[in-house]
Structure formats: C-alpha cells, structure tokens
C-alpha cells in the first residue's frame, strides 16, 4: 500500500462523506426541530433519485439542472407527508416514540411498494450525463466529478442552512419552535406551519443529494435502505439535535468507510462505520455534538 493509494482513497472518502452529510442533513434538521426520526428518510432519497432519472430519460434534463427541480418537488412532498401522516403521529398520547417510528416506517414500506408497482424492481441508471464517469486530476489524485460537485454542493448547502437558520425570520421561528413549541403559539407562530416547512426543507435537502447520487449510483426501489442506515449513524454520530453535527458525522463516516476498505475486504467495509458509531456513543452517549 503506497502513500498515494492511501491519499487517493481518503480523498474519495472525504467526498463521499460530504455527500453522506448532505443526505443526513434533512434527517438531522427534522429531528432537531421536533424530536422525530423519519424512518422513511431513505425512501425520500429513493424518490429523489427516480425523479432525477425520469427528468433525464423523458425530458433530457441533466441531473445538475434537475437538482433544483427535484429539491422543490421534494419540498412539497415533505410538507405533505408532515401534514398527512406525521402531524397525526405527533398527537399520539400513548407510546409516542413507537407511533413515530412505525408510522414513518410504514410509510417507507408503502413508498417502496409504490416504486415497485410503478417503476418495476429493475435497476436503472442515468447514462451519458454531463458529469457521469468523468474524473479530474488534482496534484496526481483522481477525483470523480459527480462526487466532487456533490461535495461542493454539500458544503454550500450547509453554509446556506447556517445563514438560513440564524439570519432569517423563518429560521428564527424554526429555532423558537424547536425550543418551546407551546410558547411560540403565544407570539402568533403557527406550530404546524413551521413543522410542515421544516419537513419540506429537510426533504428538499435529501432531494438535492438524490439528484447527485442518481448520476453515479443505480436506482431501484430498495436503494434507500442502505443509505438510510448510514444516514442514521451519521446523524447519531454527530449528535441528535445538531444539524452541523451531521456535517462532521458525514465526513467521519466517509473517511472511516474509505479506511476500512483499505484494510479489510470490500464486503466488510460497512463494519468500520458501525464500529465507530458504537465506539463514539459508548464513550459519549450523546454523540459528538449532541445536546442533552
């Protein structure tokens, strides 16, 4: 193993990690806002990837141009899911945690079923997109362009999210609702509207990630499942309640995955991520940046 291969795989691990961060950002946002883990998060990613695929296949819109459209569509979808399902799950008086887990999980199964029904279980891929299969060489390191653009987009999205949460009225309403959903009603903020917008925003972020993922990953009804677990680990690693913890968590997951792949056979590459998650929470039960 030369120094070059190590740097090479760490670089691609870093890019993938930034993308994991983007996938997880919406999950972290929703959890931070209302203490709900969306167990259909992977399926949100899946429909974003399908949306990108169909825009490309039918209208020849390149995934890069499709990304904002997909994000907008997912925004609407996320808000609708909140209004139709999650809103009612929040009202449960008994077993609240269980109701949230299983209502969103049931939704995930329905979405997978619908995808199989309408799109068939076939594997699909976006071929001949602008970035697909292209690499750039920087100082002797080859980086795949889709991942590179995805990583940059992820950084941009987190910066935008930071300003959005801290500098806009809606961001402040979001923070206020997060701190005390009961009290905000007294100052005239409609809790449900904030939550619906929060779900929309969270889904839009995963929509962005899905558009990029569609460039270099196969698209099939179960594609969300494998990324969902990585997203949960990413968010938990960073600490629930911390959106920017997801950014750090994503980078760690990406680097650990790349390192594991260097040391162990490829079939064991996910073990490294899981082991690091356990190690971190055993030492710090609130994740790296999580609050009590």
């Amino acid at each position: 193993m030369t120094a070059e291969t190590i740097i090479q795989s760490l670089a691609s691990g870093l890019l993938m990690g930034l993308l994991y961060g983007l996938i997880a950002a919406g999950l972290a946002l929703i959890f931070g806002l209302m203490d709900v883990v969306n167990f259909a998060h992977g399926e949100f990613l899946m429909i974003a990837m399908y949306a990108t695929f169909f825009l490309f296949a039918f209208f020849a819109i390149d995934p890069l141009l499709a990304a904002p459209l997909v994000a907008a569509a997912l925004f609407v979808f996320g808000a609708v899911v909140y209004l139709l399902v999650v809103r009612f799950a929040m009202r449960a008086k008994a077993n609240a945690g269980m109701v949230q887990i299983f209502s969103t999980f049931g939704l995930a199964i329905v979405m997978r079923g619908l995808a199989q029904f309408f799109f068939t279980p076939d594997y699909r891929s976006v071929t001949n997109s602008w970035l697909g299969g292209k690499t750039v060489s920087i100082a002797g390191i080859y980086l795949p362009e889709p991942q590179l653009i995805g990583a940059m987009l992820s950084i941009a999205a987190f910066v935008a999210l930071y300003f959005f949460i801290n500098r806009t009225d809606f961001g402040r309403a979001l923070e206020a609702t997060r701190e005390d959903a009961g009290a905000v009603a007294l100052v005239g903020i409609d809790k449900n509207r904030v939550f619906a917008l929060g779900w929309g925003l969270g889904a839009a972020l995963v929509g962005l990630a899905g558009a990029i993922m569609a460039i270099f990953f196969y698209i099939y009804p179960d594609v969300g499942a494998s990324f969902a677990l990585i997203a949960y680990v990413t968010v938990a690693l960073g600490g629930f309640g911390s959106v920017f913890g997801a950014f750090a968590g994503g980078i760690i997951v990406g680097l650990v995955e790349a390192t594991t792949a260097l040391i162990l056979p490829p079939s064991l590459k996910s073990v490294g991520i899981y082991a690091v998650y356990l190690l971190v929470v055993f030492i710090r039960p609130r994740g790296l940046f999580g609050s009590m």
Partner: protein, 328 residues
Amino acid sequence: MDTHFAQRRRRDLIMAACLAVVAALVPLFVKDVYVQNIMVLTLMYAALSQSWNILSGYCGQISLGHALYFGLGAYTTALLFTKFGVLPWFGMLAGGAISAVIAMALGYPCFRLRGHYFVIATIVIAEIALVLIQNWDWAGAALGIDIPVRGDSWLKFQFARSKLPYFYFALALACIAWFVTWWLEDSKWGYWWRAVKDNPDAAESLGVVVFNSKMGAAAVSAFLVAVGGSFYAQFVSYIDPESVMGFQFSLLMALPAVLGGIGTLWGPVLGAVILIPLTELTRSFIGGSGRGVDLIVYGALIVAISLALPRGLVSVFSMLTGRKEAAR
C-alpha cells in the same frame, strides 16, 4: 395486590388455557398444508413478538436488532447439527444460552444509551453480526447452511411429510412465551421493568436497580427469541444470513406487538393472529405478480393502525369490555 388485579390474572390464565386447547384442536379440522403453514408461522411470530415485548414493551428498551438472537439460535442449532451431529434439542438450548449471554454482554455498554441512540445501536450491532456471518466461510458464508433431512423423527426434530409436529412445537413455544410473560408481569421484575420504562430516574431513586432490570429483560427476551430461531431453522431446513438475521426479521418480530399493543400481555398474540395470515394471504393473492401491491397494503396497514390505535388493537377490546387497566 388488589383482588381486581388478581381476578384479571386468573381470567387471563384460564382464557389462555382455553385458547391453547382450541388451537391444538384446529389441525384436526384443517388439513390444508398451505393453511397449516400459515398457522405455524403465526404461532412462531406470536412467540417471537411476545419475547421481544419483554424487553421492548415491558422494559421500554426498544430493540430493532432482535434478528441477531433469532439468527444466533438458528445458526447455533444448524451448525451444531451439521458439523458435530448434536441433536437440535441441545442446539436449541445452547443457542438460547449463547444468545442470553451475548444479550447481557451487549447490554452492558448499550443500556447506558437512551432513546434513538439505543435503537440505532441495536440495528447497527445486528447489522455487524450479519456482515460477519456473511463472511464466515466455515458457517457457509452468504450461501448459508442446508440442513440434511434424514427422515421424520422427533429425536432429530425434522419432519419431511407432515407440518403437524412443527405446529405443536410452535404452539408450545407460543404458550411458553406467553406464560413466562404472564408470570413475570406480577413478579418483582415485572414491576421493576414498568418502573424503568415509565421513568428510569425515578425508579433508580426508589431503589430499583435499573441496570440489572434491563439486563434481566434482555437475557429472557434473547433466550426465547433464539429458541424461536432454532425452531425456524428446523422448520425451513435451509438458512442463510439474510433470511434469519436480516433487518426485516427485527421488524417482523416487533410488528405484532406494536399493532396488537406494546407492553401488553395479549398484544403480541392478537397482533400475530391478524397480521401474519393477512401478510401471507396478500403475498400469495396479490403479491404474486411481484409488483409490490402486498408491500403497499402491508405498509398502509402499519401506518393506519399506529396512527389510529397508538395503544394497539387490545385497546379496542378493553374499550368494549370497559376494562380500564387492560391497556396498561
């Protein structure tokens, strides 16, 4: 305890005995192999879900990684039988014991975690075990293990021709899991567990050893689930990592209890009796085309029941009979 509670417990026991007798008579009238197969699965899931319910329902430590213990039971039995000729009956006990020990070893670090951190840890640990078994050549790796069928025998617990012995074993397992729950419900453990579930900090301050309570629940729960796994290995006579240790098993085990009523005595039974036949029937009648309609029906049912009846289906019964405490 007050007489009302004692009355309820006696009534539960009598009802369970009657149901067990009725269930035992059913195969005399139902000869169809397909239906018998569904009945075996229903009883197995009732037993599994009842066992899962001990840790996740009564003690409130939501595990979505119980496939680990199911798989351990299945693999221990299958490996001991195919590699060393050890009879499945011993394999079953060995699998249960190994699972209980592992559950406590894992519980030691995990029970410090709370809420979603704990849930994700259980998923991740089962996932690690799955990947390790998939890469373990001696245990058949991803291909799994074919358990050779050497004729019908109770000694080797394999029956090629008839489903009936499996049916009676599954029934016995479901009864044992139910009885263990019934018995624990009124033991000091049962009270500790409910205290731990409701408010661990308050329980600790009142002298409940929270940590040991969780360990006890994990061990009992894992032991019974592993016995279920051993049974399943004998029943299907072929196992591979994904089919006994995959994430979907952790969910399939949790769902009957969640739908029937989590943390209740009858919830898992009721949930399994409704859910498993429904799943099997939708799969064979509308899912055959492979187009995912069974998933849509199944998922929509989960969403609808968890939203409409957060206390589970048993709450409908307690509403009808006006028993307030039944949904506890």
